[in-house]
Symmetry: C2
Subunit: 300 residues, 2 copies
């Protein structure tokens, strides 16, 4: 399974990068190969200062070794040796009318002292963070997520949509990071579902990613926007930073397992603002967004 999923994320990284470069029309991804001293490494690909994308990364990594004690609890495991591989992407467009997107699909193995697999699982998801809310974009994104889920089990979408809303939530702000999507974790083999079926599901979701995001970018990328809208985007990006540094387990996992810092923190937006006690005007588009983020909506 390890080899199968590693091969999958390699080709998925290629196809996502190629498509996003076409959408951008100017910038190309730059690649950094890196090794982790304790075991493993990765292929980081970053795009910056494009026509459409201000900063983005599409990274794959495979890391293994001894799991730091403080993470055993966070991951609900007691064994010490692990293997983890996955693809992780964050795209920050220039235009405040084009949403930021994040996705991650990963596979995890834990071993006993003899090196036998004790437990293994998939996790992942994709979620959208708009700065201005176009209902039809939110519906499109969720529809693609739902369609991909429904091919496997119609209970998946409502379940993983809910977990996404719960996970990508800035508890200290009482608002969601964005309008959600999918989030699933600890997808293990069960009596009813084989590990191969878990793989088929996760790769179905991975394969659906470009369909969920690219049509939205194409529809919004040429719209005019104001400097005030750009400021609003940069203020909202501050909330993105807060989530990633305070709450996100993936970032924590990377920082605590001595991951490659530049690959982990490539998720942070290029330009960000923090104003004191900034409040959007009543009845404005900005306020409309906040209200939706405070009460996760069913888009479908």
């Amino acid at each position: 399974m390890k080899e199968q999923f590693q091969a999958y994320i390699q080709q998925l990284q290629d196809s996502i990068c190629k498509t996003l470069e076409n959408v951008d029309g100017k910038a190309a991804f730059k690649e950094d190969l890196w090794e982790r001293p304790e075991g493993g490494g990765g292929r980081t690909r970053v795009i910056e200062n494009g026509n459409v994308f201000e900063k983005g990364g599409v990274n794959i990594s495979s890391v293994f070794g001894k799991l730091p004690e403080q993470l055993q609890k966070a991951l609900n495991v007691s064994q010490g040796n692990f293997f983890a591989c996955g693809l992780s992407l964050v795209i920050h467009p220039i235009s405040p009318l084009v949403p930021t997107v994040h996705a991650n699909w990963r596979y995890f193995e834990m071993y006993d002292d003899e090196g036998n697999i004790v437990t293994q699982w998939f996790g992942g998801g994709q979620d959208l963070t708009p700065y201005y809310l176009f209902n039809e974009d939110a519906i499109h994104f969720h529809q693609v997520c739902k369609d991909a889920c429904d091919k496997h089990d119609t209970t998946f979408y409502p379940q993983y949509k809910k977990r996404c809303d719960e996970y990508f939530y800035n508890t200290h702000r009482n608002e969601g990071r964005g309008i959600g999507g999918l989030f699933f974790d600890y997808l293990k083999e069960t009596d009813q579902i084989s590990l191969q079926e878990r793989y088929d599901f996760v790769t179905e979701i991975g394969n659906s990613f470009l369909n969920s995001y690219v049509p939205i970018v194409e529809k919004r990328k040429k719209l005019k926007y104001t400097l005030a809208q750009k400021d609003w985007q940069e203020i909202r990006r501050g909330r993105y930073v807060e989530f990633n540094l305070v709450h996100d387990k993936g970032t924590l996992f990377g920082l605590k397992t001595n991951g490659r810092i530049e690959s982990i923190l490539m998720s942070l937006p290029p330009k960000v603002q923090w104003h004191y006690n900034h409040l959007p005007e009543e009845g404005s588009e900005e306020e409309k967004l906040i209200k939706v983020l405070q009460e996760p909506k069913n888009w479908i």
Copy 2:
């Protein structure tokens, strides 16, 4: 002691704000009074878009109630009821040649079920974060810190200087947040030192703050700087955000005790940049700063 220290931080807030307004010459602090639903409240004062200061806050607060379980461990206490008050300030100047400064002086009480004080202590410190390194400024800042410490005990400065270097350290970057200053915590009554003497020491440090920082601002505030230097400042401010959101216990304490978010996160810089894998040029002033941050120096 509670009342004594509360009165002290109120007048200290007044005098710091007044002096900083004079240094700025344009902007004035705006005040927000707030209450904490679980007990207590604060007086937040924020300055923005001045001649000299881009964003800064000088806040006092007094909060009390039941201590969240997850914080008992972090604070090394097992009892459930607490009182905490303190002054906390962060000043982000416009010019990259003027350093950012942070300071905090606080008093803490823990109670048993009958409301008797079980333990009580002071904590605090002040530290400087330059974007360009002027050795004489670093020496001045540390000299003021040392002089204030030495009036009480000549072992304090070396001890609290070292703890400051250790505490304000971005472990995930292997570099200090800045060039340090003082950091002390759990200053309790002992056989040799009374609580009143602890108070005298902490207020001595608080009173020294303006002398440690204002002369540096005055010396640098009119120097010309380039846009590239401003970019560098904004990139370095990203490290400031990383420290505050990932490592800082004070921020964590505020977020987990349902503190007032805008008062806690007022510490975040107004404009920040994250570039992928940004490296300063060899032999540049920017590289010189990084090298000093990687190996804390004895300035005196």
